[in-house]
Structure formats: C-alpha cells, structure tokens
C-alpha cells in the first residue's frame, strides 16, 4: 500500500480541488442570483461567466503520443488553435501505405488542451491540394453540430469557429463532412481536453493514445491501399490501431515511465465503428474518468471507450517491465494491430511481484 501513496495524495488533492471549485461556483452563482441545486447546471453557469484575460495566443498542439503542457492554475484565456485538414499517404502497417485524411497530417489529429472558461478561435484550413471539403465537429463545443457546419471548408479555404469551453472533460473531435463514416474511417479525429478550473491533479507522465478501426481494399497500386466501404458497412476492419499505425507504440516508440511514477493516459476512440475495451496487461487503473467525464472510478481492470468517446486512465507504475496496452477484444490486439507497450524502468520490488522458485 505504501506504493499507492502518491495516487492517494492525488485523489486527496482532487477532492480538495473540487471542494474549492464548488465553493467558487457557489460564490459566482450567488452573485448572479442563480439558485440551482444541480451541480452540472451550476458548473455551466460558472464557465459561461468566467472572464478571459489577455490577448489571444496561439495554442500549443501536439501529435500523439505527446500532449501539451497542463493548464495548471492559470485563469481562463483566449486561444487560437490552428488545424489543417489534409489528405496524405502514410504507412499504416509494414510496407503498406494508406490514404489517410487528417488534422495536421497525423492520425489522430493534434491534441488540443484548454481549460473551462477558455475562449477558442479555431482556424480550420483545408489544404489547397485536398480533393474534398472537410470540417470539424468538436464534442467539447456547445452549439449546432459541434461546429461542423460553421467550419465547412472547401479545398484551399479556411473557416473559423469561436467557442467557449463550458464543460470540463476529454472530448473527441472529428470531421463530419459527408459521408462521415469515410472521413472518420480515414483518420479524421483527435482529442480536445478541457481541464477543470485549477487543472487536473499533477502526474509524472501523460500520453495521448487514440484507437481507430481501418477498412482497406486489396492494394490497387503496389503498397498503397485506401478506404473500403463494404468492409466499413459490415464493420469488419482489417486493422484496429492505436495512433493510426501498426506498431506506433512498439519498439522504439514505446511509451515510458519509471517505477514510482504516476501515469495518465488520455485515451480516445475515433471509431468509426468499434467500441474499445481498453486494458493494460499487468496494471490496474487507479483512476478512470469514465467516458472522459467527471465521474471517477477506481481500481478498474478494463474500461469501455465508445466510438466517438474517451477515457482518462491513471495508474502508478510500481514494478519494472513492459506493460502491454490492448483492446481486450483480443483478436483486434493479436490480429489487427490494437497493441502497444509501456516500458517501465527502475528497481524491482519483490514484495509486489516475484517469480517463484522451483
């Protein structure tokens, strides 16, 4: 149990934080004369009323498995988020290229990190050499279509969406241009994290992982394949992948941590079709923010991540070794690519784990 101390502290800190924020909300709402007893309603009112300070700055966005710096205790601010929609050829598995459609040339698209009350100017540019129009529907956005209609951009055009982040949580964003399953199936999704006021509790490591299912044709040209509508409709993917590529979290691409560190994984599922049974072999999730929302469950072995949904999982790594990340619908892991690794280095504590002698 000694080893779980950090996580306990984390939990305690979050409890304090949430107590603090409830206190703040109470103050805010009582000032505004709003008398509600539902915490969510109060929360919403509070975020709307949060005033931003300073000029708009360009937000740092990152490609998986990296995430931008935590928001910490900063106040609400204005941000410019730049995303470019592109249609590119990139490797999906050993020696096989696929025509991906992306946000910022990666699958998943860039990780966006803001806090509640932040005001975001999202600039969506569609590359001039795109064949199709694209747009963005952010599940973090309150408003028609999550911004999809407002951001519809023809090839070479740019569209702008302004929104205020009202609800904290980890949200999927995706392209919603018709036909949607094809745009998502080609990789047009990513995550946007809206941290609560005061930020998420501090951890030692944070990573960005997003699952997607891919449906391919028998390669038309040598080594290049593309979206297969029939397989997509049948929901029979050839690949189920973390971060858009077989082996994206294996070998030299393994994510890493040291014994004693706390790890937080921002896990999304772009779909378009499959629900993920996310599991880390040999670890137990100390905390899971269920479906990326505000309810935290503890001591979870496997967590469901719906298509178009997410989860934040946290655990402390107590023992060195390679921990395998899978979709525990295991044919996907063993046959279709839904497998990655977390490499933990450090000293082994035989009390925690010890291979018995003959």
């Amino acid at each position: 149990m000694r080893n779980k101390l950090n996580i306990k502290q984390m939990k305690m800190k979050r409890l304090i934080l949430s107590v603090t924020s409830i206190g703040m909300i109470t103050i805010l709402t009582s000032c505004g004369g709003v008398a509600g007893d539902k915490p969510t309603a109060e929360n919403k009112t509070a975020a709307i009323d949060m005033k931003v300070t300073g000029e708009a700055k360009v937000a740092e966005v990152t490609s998986a498995p990296n995430v931008p710096a935590p928001v910490g205790d900063r106040g609400p601010q204005k941000w410019i988020v730049n995303l470019e929609t592109t249609e590119i050829e990139a490797e999906i598995a050993d020696g096989i290229n696929y025509t991906f459609w992306t946000f910022n040339n990666t699958v998943p698209g860039s990780f966006i990190r803001v806090r509640e009350g932040d005001e975001v100017e999202l600039r969506l540019k569609n590359a001039a050499n795109s064949v199709l129009p694209h747009n963005i529907d952010l599940h973090a956005v309150t408003g028609p279509g999550g911004g999809a209609e407002a951001t519809s951009a023809a090839p070479g055009q740019e569209a702008v969406l302004h929104f205020k982040a009202l609800n904290p949580g980890l949200y999927v964003y995706h392209c919603a241009a018709p036909p949607v399953p094809m745009h998502i199936g080609n990789g047009m999704y990513g995550l946007i994290l809206v941290e609560p006021a005061g930020g998420l509790p501090k951890v030692d490591r944070e990573y960005y992982i997003m699952q997607g299912d891919f449906y391919t044709k028998a390669a038309a040209k040598a080594g290049l394949t593309e979206f297969n509508n029939d397989k997509a409709v049948a929901e029979e993917p050839d690949y189920v992948l973390f971060n858009g590529k077989k082996g994206s979290l294996l070998g030299k691409n393994m994510i890493e941590a040291k014994v004693g560190e706390t790890v937080r994984l921002f896990v999304g599922n772009g779909g378009p079709n499959l629900t993920s049974s996310f599991h880390v072999i040999g670890e137990i999730f100390d905390n899971v923010y269920l479906e990326g929302g505000s309810t935290v469950s503890h001591n979870v072995q496997t967590t469901m991540i719906p298509a178009g949904g997410s989860a934040i999982v946290e655990f402390k790594v107590d023992y060195p070794g390679q921990y395998v990340l899978v979709d525990h619908s295991l044919s996907r892991a063993f046959n279709k690519g839904a497998i990655g690794k977390l490499k933990v280095t450090g000293e082994a504590n035989p009390l925690i784990f010890n291979k018995g002698k003959k």
Binding site: E87, T99, A128, N129, V131, L132, P133, N135, D137, H139, P144, G145, G146, A148, E149, S152, A153, A154, P155, G156, Q157, A176, A177, P178, P179, V180, P181, M182, A220, E226, N229, D230, V233
Partner: protein, 283 residues
C-alpha cells in the same frame, strides 16, 4: 451530441447549410453579367440528352421522381484555352480586373498574367480556380448556360453501359476511386472513355459547378411545403434505400456543393455548359 443531431449530421449536414445559404441568383448581378458580355465561339460538341424521370439522390422520400426535360450538354469540361479566349474577349473577367464579389483572390491562381496560361498547364486541361460567377459569364458568352443540378446528376447516373447504373454494386466505388486521385485536374479532357450518353470526364477530372449548386433543396423537389420541410426531406433521404445510403460518391458531391460559395475558386473545380434543346438551332 444528441443522436438526432448526429443522424442529421451524418446524412444531411449539407442540407442544413444548403438551406441557410443565399441563392446566387441575384437578379441585378445577372443583369450586369448579361449586359456586358462579349460573345465567344466554342467548338465543343454538345450531346443531346433526352431527359426523363429520375430519382434525386436527396429527395426520394415519397418516391416522387423528378422530371428532367431534354437538354444539351457539353461533352467535356471547359478547357484552359477556351477560358483564355473568354477573358480575351471580356476584359472585365480577367484576373486583374474581376470584381472581388465575383471571385475570391485565388481566381485563375496560377495564371502568370491576364492572358497567359500557367506555365505547366495543358491548354486542353479543364480550367479550374474559376468562380460560379465566372462560369456563368463564360456560359453566357458562349450562348449557353450552366447545367442545373438535376441535369448534371441525371447524366451522373450513367456508367459506360447504362443510363442509370446507381443500383450497380460498383457504381459508387468506381467513382470514389476516381475522385480520390490527386492532381487529376491537370490531365487533358477526353482521355478516358465517355459514359452511356457520350459525355466525357463526368467524374475523373474535376468537380463541376452547376447553376443551382446551393439551392439543392428547393429545385426539382416535387413535394409541396416550405423551407421547414427541406431538412426533413433530407434527413429521411438517407433511409430510402441502402443503395443510396451507400452512394458515398453522391454524398461527396453534395458535400462539395454545400461547402462552396458563388465567389469561391477551387483548385479542382471547373465547369461545363448546357443549353435548352429549344435553342438548339439558334446558335
């Protein structure tokens, strides 16, 4: 997002935007265009399309087919050299003098000067980076008009062998294959096989402007009812038949049409002209 909203997005995102968009048919604008257009001669062959009933991709909710009257259509898209002759005869449509309301700043983007085609461009490749206004003006100057969306989609039902191939398994897939090829707009016209009607390059070179590209819901809709019905119509369209839901190629076309405005100029968007059959002998 609520499930209803989601379905709406999935199948009819375009409908929402189509409904709220202004129609480009501004009478005054049209007057200006008409008054000042210098005629040009084009030699492109026009194909007679007898017309007929067809089920619009979008509006088949109560199985009402739309009647498309007979018309003539250019067998291929307007080419770079044809557009050069148009701007030569019509200085107001050159890239240095076109009004910003008629075309965005990318108009004829790669032309080094007003009367010079892009260095690498083939004269017989389709002209791109042209706005709807410019396309309409070109058509006028050629004594023609832009095809209506229904006319265009009527032709698009055909494959090489039949006038309506929409129920064929490979129909949509084959088109998407063509759509996905980058840089296809630089190829010359008429290098691939024509469709059933003898019309070339319906899918394999460019997106094409249609006269009423952004009034999808109000044109050719046989339902009575006002604006409010449009969305319903479109939502339900997805449920009419599986083959139509799987017509991803059509979703892409409609997605494209609803993503553009009349002054936009796009790297892979051009046009071809049409004409009423009654005018057939007057030109």
């Amino acid at each position: 997002m609520k499930p209803a909203t989601y379905i709406l997005l999935l199948l009819s995102l375009l409908a929402q935007s189509a409904c709220t968009k202004e129609k480009p048919h501004d009478e005054k604008q049209g007057e200006v265009v008409r008054a000042s257009i210098g005629p040009i001669k084009t030699t492109v062959k026009m194909v007679y399309i007898p017309g007929g009933e067809y089920m619009p991709f979008y509006g088949a909710i109560d199985s009402n087919a739309v009647k498309v009257p007979a018309f003539l259509i250019d067998e291929r898209a307007v080419t770079n050299e044809e557009f050069l002759s148009f701007v030569t005869a019509n200085p107001q449509w050159r890239k240095s003098s076109i009004l910003r309301i008629h075309a965005d700043t990318n108009y004829l983007r790669d032309w080094p000067s007003d009367l010079e085609l892009p260095k690498d461009a083939r004269p017989d490749a389709p002209v791109c980076f042209v706005s709807w206004f410019a396309a309409k003006a070109f058509a006028k100057s050629a004594g023609k008009r832009l095809p209506t969306l229904d006319e265009w989609e009527f032709i698009a039902m055909a494959d090489a062998d039949t006038f309506n191939a929409r129920s064929k398994k490979q129909y949509s897939d084959a088109i998407i294959q063509l759509y996905m090829e980058k840089g296809r707009q630089f190829k010359p016209v008429k290098q691939s096989a024509p469709n059933y009607w003898g019309v070339y390059n319906v899918f394999d070179l460019i997106w094409e402007w249609t006269d009423d590209f952004n009034s999808i819901m109000s044109i050719g809709d046989s339902r009575t009812g006002g604006e409010n019905n449009n969305k319903d119509l479109f939502c339900a369209a997805g449920a009419t038949s599986a083959s139509e839901v799987n017509n991803y190629a059509a979703f892409m076309r409609f997605g494209m049409r609803t993503a553009v405005k009349a002054h936009y100029t796009i790297a892979n968007m051009g046009f071809r002209c049409a004409k009423d059959t009654s005018n057939q002998t007057t030109q």
